[in-house]
């Protein structure tokens, strides 16, 4: 990261200078290590038998046959593919080119399949593929909205550690409102408002009072946990029936699309919030890269003073971005109490906001990539259920740990070189 006020380019880089391309080896190294670890797992703990993938769901118009494959073989094939991808990464290093984002993404999916095949080998239970994907999509919803909000905020120059707090307050507000009104839509709107409220406080302290954004974010999380837990014990528990029992959004099947084999039920027999996610991702992308709002927002995040000198109101732009982002995160918060379950519980978001933050970084501050990362993390969260289904030999704690380990790897280098918005985290102060 560079300073907000740095000159756009150092005077020394010029056409006359020789240029040698440099490429980071980190990504290739990480891919290699992870592949080796997977291979080691397969070697040390081989499992007999077939792994079964159930391709259809009951009531499908078109039903694909189920697949049973020797688990170890599939796993080894996947490891081989992973090895090839790692080799590609090394070739890219040698060819002095930067690794495309697709390679680590594909790598992650392949390794996931390898792992599932190993874990499911010999199990009498089969993996319901539709349910795995559908569940992952559903679980990724709060992460995805959180990540989109994070991307918008950071693109405008405000680091938002308080995504977790926004999700939690959103869930809380949605629970109460939806319970009182018997309307999940009202709950959703309340969650949006709650997300914006946290954003407003974040903005007040970081934009107006220029307090360090990380500190405010961390403290806001604690504050929201305290407040929601306080009101939960004091108000929600005694009046649970009136205040903490929501009607949830029922899944809606989209005609035709939901009939696509495997993917149809997974992607198009979902809650309204999932469809909202499908729409929001491209919408945020479009808004960021193709509209005046987005251009100005990114200018403010990169070089606020330059934006100021062309008459853009930096602070106002940041406030607006933060509020919109807060609203989007709020939608993710509503997921917990009007989609997932029908009541609020203490600290029920359980760190999803931090995974969202990781998705922002993993996704290189880009809405599409961040959404993909959120999906990946949703998948990892979903793995736990899947593996307990087949009675896998891996303790559930390790599955639950996976998103965080993946993120740790990601921030340590799997993402390769990534550049945060230049003025990300820097308060803008003018006379």
């Amino acid at each position: 990261m560079t300073t907000a006020t740095a000159t756009p380019s150092s005077a020394s880089v010029s056409e006359d200078l020789r240029h040698v391309t440099v490429v980071s080896r980190k990504s290739a190294l990480v891919l290699t290590v992870v592949t080796a670890l997977m291979a080691l797992l397969l070697l040390l703990s081989p499992r007999e038998g077939d792994v079964q993938y159930r391709m259809g769901a009951e009531g499908d118009a078109l039903r694909l046959p189920d697949v049973a494959l020797p688990g170890m073989t599939v796993a080894w094939v996947c490891v081989a593919i992973a090895a090839v991808l790692a080799a590609v990464a090394w070739l890219q290093v040698r060819a002095e080119r930067t690794l495309s984002f697709a390679v680590p993404m594909v790598f992650a999916v392949v390794l996931l399949v390898a792992f599932l095949s190993w874990a499911g080998a010999g199990s009498p239970q089969d993996f319901p593929v539709s349910r795995i994907i559908g569940g992952a999509v559903l679980l990724s919803v709060p992460i995805l909205f959180g990540a989109l909000g994070g991307v918008i905020g950071e693109r405008a120059g405000v680091v938002n550690i308080a995504i977790e707090g926004q999700l939690l307050l959103g869930a809380f507000a949605a629970a109460i409102t939806a319970s009182l009104t018997d309307s999940p839509i009202a709950g959703l709107l309340a969650a949006v408002t709650a997300g914006m409220l946290v954003a407003l406080v974040l903005g007040l302290f970081t934009i107006t009072y220029k307090v360090d954004q990380v500190i405010v974010g961390v403290v806001l999380n604690v504050l929201v946990i305290g407040l929601t837990s306080f009101f939960y014990s004091e108000v929600l528990v005694p009046n649970a029936e009136r205040l903490n029992e929501t009607d949830r959004f029922a899944p809606v099947a989209i005609p035709l699309l939901s009939e696509i084999p495997v993917l149809g039920p997974a992607l198009f027999r979902q809650s309204v919030l999932v469809y909202l996610a499908y729409v929001t991702v491209p919408a945020v992308w479009f808004a960021l890269y193709r509209t005046r709002w987005g251009l100005r927002l990114r200018a403010v995040g990169e070089h606020p003073k330059a934006a100021d000198t062309v008459g853009i109101k930096v602070l106002r732009t940041r406030y607006r971005a933060l509020l919109i982002a807060g609203g989007i995160v709020g939608v993710g918060g509503a997921f917990y109490t009007v989609v997932s379950v029908s009541s609020f519980g203490k600290e029920m978001t359980a760190g999803a906001g931090f995974i969202a933050l990781a998705a922002v970084i993993f996704g290189k501050w880009d809405p599409l990539r961040a959404a993909l990362a959120a999906l990946l993390f949703g998948f990892a969260s979903n793995l736990d259920d899947m593996l307990s289904l087949v009675g896998a030999p891996v303790p559930s704690q390790f599955m639950l740990m996976l998103p965080y380990v993946v993120t740790l790897f990601a921030v340590a280098g799997l993402v390769g070189k990534s550049r945060a918005p230049a003025a990300d985290g820097v308060p803008y102060i003018k006379e």
Partner: protein
């Protein structure tokens, strides 16, 4: 000083027919630094500087602001207590016909809540004898014990410009290690305790060291990595607690350890009547150690140099990545101390994965309230320990959920972080010459220069 501040003087006048670039701009930066910065410091490296600057503003502000922040936060807590009190709600139903009822109800609700807090935290005026009366104070010290070590861990990292949010993970890992030695090993008395403590400290250090290493080697931001390591530690310890042969008590299916052996338990400090244990002594030693480290040792000098201006530290031959790792090791060790005293002193009957009790996060607020100084951390920890001790009494006797303490704590820190806000409320003067102006920080000075 006034002479130094008389700028635009001689320094400006110099022949410069060829001298190019922005020497003038730099000069103006320096001038602005001195005229503009309330603390009168030259602000270091632009990149890391802004972050350290902001951190410094939060960690080294004036004490008046701290007190103001505590008062404001307690007031806000009162509002919460009042609005959720049933008597107040009832009376407010006819507020306009008899407002005095509402006010009386508010007064009674808030008054009795804080009375309970005081009774639970400082002095039990309902007790029969002196020993009973000071029991709450002892409770507060007991709650403060882990907060001291943990707060020191966060504060030390702050001083080196690092934000250690990983207290929870470091404490959990430390608790697991100390606990494993504490119940699983057979060692002579004293030695057993020391080995267990050392194991906890080492485990905390290693866990934080991972974040330090990642930062040093790859530049991964410690805020992200320590958050991730919190969750990894939680699930790791959860797994160990659920696995027979590791931490799980034999013959039990609960995710809980067996009780510590007597040889590994921290003895009571003031006899069996109070639950204050020798962990407090360890914590106080840690305060002295951190003070010495920061102010008298080479290592601490490099920590501070890196924290204040990493660029200058690097130019001065200080190995910044290595310092980062060292800082995290020591910080993690301090949080490890907190984790170890939890299992060897506070909860000796066996622990589960909630042993950290939120202390890792409380530590951040303790460090911020304590302005990242060892002595400040000590007092902040005692204050928050008192809140905790009082909070449970408040919950038991007045039915006010203990989470109110979390709310008040986080509000304190928020208010501390925004001195202009507190100053505006209490009409405190701005440090430096000009009253009531927004603090000026680095980027503005650059603008002044441009």
């Amino acid at each position: 000083m006034s002479e130094d501040r008389q700028l635009g003087g001689d320094e400006v006048a110099r022949p410069q027919h060829v001298g190019e670039e922005d020497a003038g701009a730099r000069q103006a930066v320096l001038q602005a630094d001195r005229t503009g910065d309330a603390e009168g410091r030259v602000v270091p490296d632009p990149d890391a500087g802004r972050w350290h600057d902001a951190l410094r503003r939060v960690t080294q502000g004036s004490w008046a602001v701290s007190v103001g922040a505590v008062v404001l936060a307690v007031l806000a807590g009162s509002v919460l207590i009042a609005v959720t009190d049933e008597a107040v709600q009832e009376a407010s139903g006819y507020f306009f016909s008899r407002p005095s009822d509402t006010l009386a109800a508010v007064g009674s609700a808030v008054g009795s809540a804080y009375a309970a807090l005081f009774r639970g935290a400082v002095w039990n005026f309902q007790a029969d004898d002196l020993a009973g009366a000071i029991r709450p104070l002892m409770n507060s010290l007991n709650f403060a014990t882990p907060l001291i070590g943990a707060g020191l861990g966060v504060a030390l990292a702050f001083r080196a410009g690092l934000f250690n949010i990983g207290g929870r993970g470091q404490m959990l890992v430390a608790a697991a290690a100390a606990g494993w030695v504490g119940f699983g090993m057979e060692l002579p008395v004293v030695l057993h305790l020391l080995v267990a403590m050392a194991a906890g400290i080492a485990a905390g250090a290693v866990w934080a060291g991972i974040a330090g290493l990642l930062k040093a080697a790859t530049g991964a931001h410690e805020v992200i990595t320590t958050i991730m390591l919190n969750y990894i530690a939680f699930y790791l310890v959860s797994w160990m607690l659920a696995t027979p042969g590791l931490l799980q008590a034999p013959g039990s299916s609960n995710p809980k350890t067996p009780p510590m052996q007597d040889t590994a338990v921290l003895p009571d400090l003031f006899g069996p009547r109070y639950n204050v244990h020798w962990g407090l002594v360890f914590a106080l030693v840690a305060v002295a150690f951190v003070w010495w480290l920061l102010n008298r040792s080479r290592l601490g000098f490099t920590f501070r140099a890196v924290g204040e201006n990493p660029a200058a530290a690097r130019v001065a031959g200080i190995d910044v990545p290595r310092t980062t790792v060292s800082v995290m090791l020591v910080a993690g060790g301090l949080l490890g101390l907190a984790g170890a005293t939890q299992v060897l002193g506070t909860v000796t009957t066996g622990f589960s994965s909630d042993i950290d009790a939120g202390i890792g996060f409380d530590a951040i607020t303790v460090a911020l309230l304590g302005r990242s100084s060892p002595i400040g951390v000590l007092f902040a920890a005692i204050l928050f320990g008192a809140f905790k001790a009082g909070g449970s009494v408040m919950q038991a006797s007045e039915n006010v959920p203990i989470e109110i303490v979390v709310v008040v704590q986080s509000l304190i820190v928020l208010f501390i972080a925004a001195p202009p806000l507190v100053r505006a409320v209490f009409r405190l003067p701005q440090p430096g010459e000009r009253p009531a102006r927004k603090p000026r920080s680095r980027s503005k000075q650059k603008e002044v220069a441009a």
